[in-house]
């Protein structure tokens, strides 16, 4: 019978790590799929205001407008007045229509009528600039807008 009694080693056996790469790869693929690299290079400061009564933005039909003070590294060149950014460059109020029409043409054709303008505006911007943008949008007949915010509530702080 002594044949069957194994010699018990006094040491704790090492944990089998053979499946570790698989687990890590799984996580890796998850993050690769979830990651959205930022499409636009931000040229303006963009701290969004807080709000909690929000709706979700449908991304496939959105065009973005950024507004705020120029970022620190551009302030020497462009000053510290609020500026509008569409796509990758600063845009003047009078140029909004052209830039947005261009952006809209990049959306899927069936969604171009349902276009939604997402306004990402820095919380320190003056409302005047925003209403100038809105006036242009009305003239362009892009009437659906969404003010992008961060979760939270200003009154509870």
């Amino acid at each position: 019978m002594s044949k069957f009694t194994k010699k018990k080693s006094s040491e704790v056996p090492a944990v089998n790590t053979a499946s570790l790469p698989d687990i890590v790869f799984m996580l890796l693929f998850f993050f690769m799929v979830v990651t959205v690299l930022r499409e636009d290079n931000l040229l303006v400061q963009n701290i969004l205001p807080k709000a909690d009564q929000v709706e979700k933005l449908q991304k496939d039909r959105a065009v973005y407008i950024y507004a705020g003070k120029p970022s620190q590294r551009y302030q020497e060149k462009y000053g510290s007045e609020g500026k509008i950014q569409i796509g990758d460059k600063y845009t003047d109020v009078t140029n909004i229509k052209f830039a947005l029409t261009e952006l809209r043409a990049k959306l899927r054709p069936e969604l171009q009528d349902k276009v939604m303008v997402a306004l990402k505006v820095d919380e320190k911007t003056n409302t005047g600039l925003v209403s100038d943008i809105k006036q242009e949008l009305r003239e362009l007949n892009m009437l659906k807008i969404i003010y992008i915010t961060t979760p939270g509530n200003e009154t509870q702080n």
Partner: protein, 208 residues
Amino acid sequence: MARRATPEVNAGSMADIAFLLLIFFLVTTTIEKDKGIARQLPPMEEQDQEDVIIKQKNLFIVNVNKSDQLLVEEELMEVKNLRQAAIDFLDNGGAPSSSPLYCNYCKGKRDPGSSDNPDKAVISVQNDRLTSYKMYITVQNELVAAYNYLRDRESQRLYGWKFTEVKKAIDEGSIKPADADPYQEKLENIQKLFPLKLSEAQPKKQGQ
């Protein structure tokens, strides 16, 4: 020469490489958080449009000045009280029970000096051009919150669920689009009870 078996590739460092990549993606990931307050802008006015006259008592004027102070119905107010003030105004139902404007679901004070019914009640926001965007959004958020509170209350009473919760569920897809139709109709009913009537005046120039 005897053929040697090809040696096996050492995969011991595979985990390290994968970890490195994983950490890179972890750091660069910004999970997009695009949510916000949706609005429909009014279309450009046509020339022959007549001015609609709104009775003073059906108008709730919110004024924000350039130093972000709030003037509601000609009284200074803190932002945190704005929501309740808007709820009181919308839910007032001041029209007498004999009139066709009578609001049978309102639970307000029924003050004849305030709004007749939620359908007539208009909230008008006036900003200065120098008002900060943060304040603007805070005010808009509070006003939307007032509408949402009342819509939730009515949908709870009529259908037993909350307006905002069902709307969110449809948005996020936890109620399938195929099953959403009966809800959509009810959502519209609730929206008719408390239609969002927010008017925005062109901001005034500084100092006016």
